[in-house]
Amino acid sequence: MSDAAMEVVKPEMKSYIWLQTADGSIQQVEEEVAMFCPMICQEVLQTGMGFSKAYAISLPQRVNPAILGLILDYCRFHLVSGRSNKEHKTFDEKFIRMDIKKLCELTSAADSLQLKPLVDLTSRALARIIEGKSPEEIRETFHLPDDLTEEEKLEPLRNITDDPHIRLLNRLYARKRKELKERKKLKDVEVEEEPKDERSVEDLLSFINGADGDTKEARTNKNKKKNRRRKDHSKDLSSKNAHENDTELNPLPCSYHNGNFDNALEASASKHSRMQNLPAVNFSPKFEFIDGDIDDDLDPAMKEELDREVEDFARRLNSDWPERMQILSLGQDRRLLPISMNSNGSTHMYTSFDQR
């Protein structure tokens, strides 16, 4: 079909690929430039199309001619070998300077063409734009619809069970969860139900002591509890020691930061910048008490309320961790669809292939 077109007649004559954008317009592009885009490359190799105007490769909907031009400029530069990293970086920095609307379109188009380096570049640029902005600013910049109710905005992280003290108790929750998980004996007597459970387990143990199977888990839990306690004890000691020795220990001035290790993974997680103070929603109130004295510093009225709340938690916490997660997610407004991160993850997002 297109073998003749593939043949290079003269040394100077280039091979071209024909591309069709969603608006119907067709253009021809140097083969090497077009093939730089994995999606186009794949199409050409799989279908054999693209070597004539009649059989142009249909590009995904998100790629319009103007954006395609930009993308091809990017490809044209980067496919040339022998350029230094600095040259590439300088080009990228200049290339990315455009208005936000275009940047978003470019990100979208690059994603649909599976041009990963460009997706990374544009994503990072968008991230730089987003961070440091207040929600209002972000909404304005990206024209996001302001479609949440005031209440939804105020309590973005409100627990589904609508517990008014959820935030205040999060810390207690964290500690209690762990303690109950390990079946550690609590120092406080506030959580009344817990000791009862403890005892029942121990009763069970004493009954079926020595038998395999059932008690194994309980036994290992108990052992774990013992170990944890010992560990916690030594932990406290060593952390105290660490504090005392802080002035004596002179850590050498080198501070290897995250940037030291290689970016083997897509998320170049080593190079995120620090967040400025976002004037946005403050979802955790300021705690004024310190760890060990947590219960003593609360006034009695609060304490009573806390007792009740913690009891409520304790009941919840007694179930296993996975069950607990289910309880929390029950009744959630929205069913969250799992997003699978397989290598072909991007392909099944597009409807473009239907155009074939």
Binding site: T107, R167, K231, Y256, L278, P338, I339
Partner: protein
Amino acid sequence: MVTKRGNKNYLRKGRNYVVGEGSNLRGKEKEKRDKEDRLSNLPDELIHRILSTIDAKSCVQMSVLSKRWRNLWTTLPVLNLQDTSFSDPVLFESFVDHVLSHRDSSTNLHVVNFESYDDLQEGDVVDSIIDYITDTPTVTASIRLLSILADQCVVGSLPDLSLCQSLTTLNLSRICAEATPFEIVSLKSLYLIDCNFECGDEEVLDLFEDCVNLRRLSLHNCNYYGGFQTFRIHAPQLTYLSISWMRIDEMFNSNCDIELFTPKLQHFSYSDSDVYEFSSDEDLLSLEEFNVDVLLDEDTDSLVQLIELFEIMGSAKFVTLSTSIIEVMSMFPDELDGRSSPFTRLHDFKLNKDTPSSSTVVPPKVMAYLFGGSPGFWFNRWKDKNSRDNSEGDPEEFQEALSLQPFFNPRGVRNLTLIVDLHAG
């Protein structure tokens, strides 16, 4: 900025264009078109990628933006948990717990970056993160990179990480932990920085034997409390090794030796104020780069250790040494007597200087020792990168120096340069 979005918009634009009032109407039309959500075209996956360089607190706060964004943070595959935007470590801990407990546990989590410079009150937040990772099956299977910087935090759950089948990179900074062997089979890169390890009484400490796929290992400024005599690095797949400022019981313990079993090693860097005794059963034939940055004492003990290290690293093609090595070698030339040049295939040699000063003079005997064993290594230029005048080296002097070397065999005209590099600390 108008982009082609099909013929419809063009027609509409034309219809609305009226002189005088046109600008208003056209403006409104444009405004309407511009009011489109610019990020709606991006799939969640892309939004996640964009957010992957932004800290988790901001990501969670973005849940107020719009309906679409409300729960986006619960499926983030990258969590950047940093305490820098929290005024209170207690708030930070509470936040971490909240994020983990409200996260959609059926979605993949690939990267966790945890950074805490404040004194963590309970010290359990790191353990709780590891617990979350190892208790949530989807996360255990999908976690690839875990980076923890927790100032003076005691971490107890490290051994649990052996459950993670996909963990390829582990970065631990400033933590305190028991020195239990890292049994993470999938691990390819391990970076331990500023950590304190509590070791037992064993004579030989081998922490990496079970990381059978380990490729890169970096130990920087770590302190090991224990009585071990040998620090063994058993890593058959290791290609990159960097050891610097290793301390035992907070001191440089010259009795301790470092045993290498790293047959595939390609890059070795060492930096300290003294040199440990290194040993290696096998020749490191794949070695390419060898960097040593030490400020040697002016005595022969450290020098001897260093020379032994040179023997092990003799196959290196690209060697960088600090100037104090040359200086101490020059002070004790007798130590070089009878020793053949350790480097057999030297390609490139650099000197690292901490401060810009006049170029270091390399005496002939030292030159012969360093370069004599590499056939074809030809002294080309002596270049000081930061000085204007390039003083040409004297080829005759070099030749003379090399002739002192019993094994020198001048053949080939491989042009190799001798560069003096200014090393920025």
